[in-house]
């Protein structure tokens, strides 16, 4: 599988080149949020606001009112926790054209509880006028940028940095409120988001070989959450639904799916994989994924419990899975 380094850093510079209305706002985390190359390329469009996020978010709202497109960059926690009132009143309420790039989603950081954004989707989903998206791989982190910038109104982007896998081909860019149908099936519906999808693919690759029929959707838009393929997946499976998110199980993907199931009267079991109403702590990503049941093995166990069968899949089997970029079911190549 292809690994791509510093996707956002390079892409932002190229994309923003002839867009003088695009500004980048920093809260002293320039290198850590991949806006260093932008700062160097377009210093007069880079606004340093320091460790003062509340001012930064309201300031961004003011810039947007004057026709600029501010791209706010910092760790997610400092956007939605520290400056929530400012996001709500200076950005969301007035439907301001501010795009917020929040880094370190969930347990992707050893920075501990203060740096791990575990309830951001829940809070941002609840805000009227807010669009909420999450990058799942290198392709998405690159291709969501023009979509997000073009979409009128405020957008919160759960962002990825550093070395990213390419799970999805560049020929299938991010589309707003369009899930990627990674496999079709009739036993179990699986919704995964962000970094969980890679782990989910490891599991589903082997589960399918063992005869399980899985409808697997990768979700990169948390709000809106309306695409017909969602209901299609919920309706067409025999045993039930599993959601898997790098987030608490409250208020995020699991809750969004539960809402749709309840509204549409889909009377099946729902299993929500994610942080079980707990904060995490400082440790490596694989360690934390193991601890919180966010890895392929944990998913296999949940599937087994849901369908009432054992597949005899071990860690070694999962580790040996080779993932290539997966075409979405909406394209002919996926068949």
């Amino acid at each position: 599988m292809e690994m791509v380094s510093r996707v956002h850093a390079k892409n932002l510079v190229e994309w923003a080149k002839d867009r003088p209305e695009v500004l980048v706002l920093s809260a002293d985390l320039t290198s850590s949020t991949e806006i260093d190359l932008f700062r160097d390329a377009y210093p007069d469009r880079f606004i340093s606001l320091g460790i003062a996020e509340q001012n930064m978010l309201s300031f961004a709202g003011g810039l947007a009112r004057e026709g600029f497109i501010p791209l706010v960059h910092t760790f997610a926690v400092f956007i939605y926790r520290r400056a929530y009132d400012q996001v709500a009143m200076s950005v969301a309420y007035p439907n301001a054209n501010v795009k917020m790039f929040g880094f370190l989603p969930g347990i992707t950081t050893p920075g501990g509880a203060t740096h791990q954004a575990i309830e951001d989707v829940a809070l941002m989903r609840a805000l009227p006028n807010m669009t909420v998206v999450e990058a799942g791989d290198a392709t998405e982190m690159k291709t969501l940028l023009p979509v997000v910038a073009r979409h009128p109104g405020p957008v919160y982007v759960r962002s990825l940095r550093g070395e990213l896998p390419r799970l999805f081909p560049e020929s299938e860019p991010f589309q707003l409120d369009v899930p990627r149908v990674l496999s079709r099936g009739t036993d179990v519906a699986l919704f995964s988001s962000g970094i969980c999808t890679e782990e989910a693919l490891r599991a589903t690759t082997i589960l399918k070989k063992k005869g399980l029929s899985i409808q697997h959707l990768h979700i990169s838009t948390h709000k809106p959450f309306q695409h017909p393929s969602i209901l299609e997946a919920l309706s067409s499976v025999r045993h039930g639904v599993i959601t898997m998110e790098n987030h608490v199980v409250t208020g995020g993907l699991g809750s969004a799916v539960a809402e749709r199931m309840a509204e549409e009267g889909v009377g099946k079991r729902l299993v929500r994989i994610g942080l079980l109403d707990t904060f995490s702590h400082g440790a490596s990503k694989p360690y934390l994924m193991r601890e919180h049941g966010l890895d392929a093995l944990a998913l296999v166990k949940k599937v087994e419990a849901l369908v009432g069968a054992r597949f005899g899949i071990g860690e070694k089997d999962l580790a040996e899975v080779r993932l290539e970029a997966v075409h979405s079911g909406s394209k002919a190549e996926a068949l």
């Binding site: 606004i47 606001l49 320091g50 003062a52 509340q54 001012n55 978010l57 309201s58 300031f59 961004a60 709202g61 003011g62 810039l63 947007a64 009112r65 004057e66 026709g67 600029f68 501010p70 009132d85 400012q86 009143m89 200076s90 309420y93 007035p94 439907n95 009227p128 006028n129 009128p152 109104g153």
Partner: protein, 306 residues
């Protein structure tokens, strides 16, 4: 800044009359509704009069506007949403903008808009009525309002973003922010002042109603922010301390170039200026309410004397 200010004596008299009119209207309203933000009108009447008549370079309102009904909330689906900015004249690169930071002063703003011919007096009849856009705590669709400031401390930051943008676009118009001294207890306020200073946003000016009062009592007793002038100067602002009831003194600092610094005019005011009988309410000035019918007497007398 207004490039064509009227001769001092002419506009000063006008400002004093306007301030008197603001107090009278808010008093009348307070009596009619058995309560109101009366002391804010007492302290800031000259401030609003001076800003609207002399300091701010606003486009004209063609005639006093009658506020439209509540337009619904801002969203991509709501094409009929409007802000209250139209009352401050059309947007133009050369004209100024006004941001009311403590939205609780809205009643005083509405009275000021009527007194300066920008809003029809019916506007005040709609105050806090169901279905009206004339909200008690000014919303951004309320007359004279342009951003959402009911949660204190965000007005200045939004104005700072606007000021940065206007400078970048080469617009000569300034951004004026009305604040109250209590807001200097807020962390975000200081974050903003340091950013105004750091980014040299000298096209933004702040007028502060230093009436030394807040909900719980005097600012000094709740959470002291003095010495405000020294604190602001140390943060890089160009600070002037003036008598907040003297229109000429209020207007003067707006003409002094600040060379890269944000301007702050600290207007020292009294929460019962023009209504000395209000002094008995001390220390509770934030919202004037009549508990017993006999409490109304001095206010009714004052209204007659206006």
């Amino acid at each position: 800044m207004n490039p064509n200010p009227e001769p001092l004596n002419d506009w000063k008299t006008k400002a004093e009359l306007t301030a008197k009119g603001i107090r009278r209207r808010v008093l009348e309203h307070t009596l009619r509704h058995d309560g109101g933000y009366l002391s804010q009108a007492c302290s800031s009447a000259e401030l609003f009069a001076t800003l609207y008549l002399n300091v701010m370079n606003l486009g004209p309102a063609p005639q006093p506007i009658v506020p439209k009904p509540f337009p619904g909330v801002p969203s991509n689906r709501n094409l009929s949403y409007f802000t209250g900015a139209a009352f401050n004249g059309p947007r133009d690169p050369g004209t100024d903008r006004f941001i009311l930071s403590p939205a609780q002063y809205a009643l005083v703003l509405y009275a000021a808009l009527i007194e300066t011919g920008r809003m029809a007096s019916e506007g005040l009849e709609q105050f806090n009525q169901d279905g009206s856009s004339v909200e008690m705590i000014g919303a951004e669709h309320s007359p004279g309002m342009e951003v959402t400031t009911g949660s204190l401390g965000q007005g200045l930051s939004q104005a700072a973003g606007m000021a940065w943008a206007r400078k970048r676009k080469g617009e000569t118009g300034r951004v004026w922010v009305f604040m109250s001294d209590g807001e200097f207890q807020i962390g975000q306020t200081w974050e903003c002042v340091e950013s105004l200073s750091h980014h040299r946003l000298d096209n933004l000016g702040i007028y502060v109603d230093v009436n030394r009062q807040q909900c719980d009592g005097t600012v000094k007793s709740v959470m002291n922010v003095e010495p405000l002038d020294e604190r602001l100067r140390s943060f890089g602002a160009a600070v002037h301390v003036v008598n907040g009831h003297d229109p000429a003194a209020l207007a003067f600092p707006a003409r002094i170039p600040t060379a890269g610094k944000p301007l702050v005019v600290l207007a020292e005011t009294s929460p019962f200026q023009g209504m000395p009988f209000l002094a008995v309410n001390a220390p509770k000035f934030h919202y004037v309410r009549f508990k017993r019918p006999e409490d109304r007497a001095p206010f009714e007398k004052a209204l007659r004397e206006f």
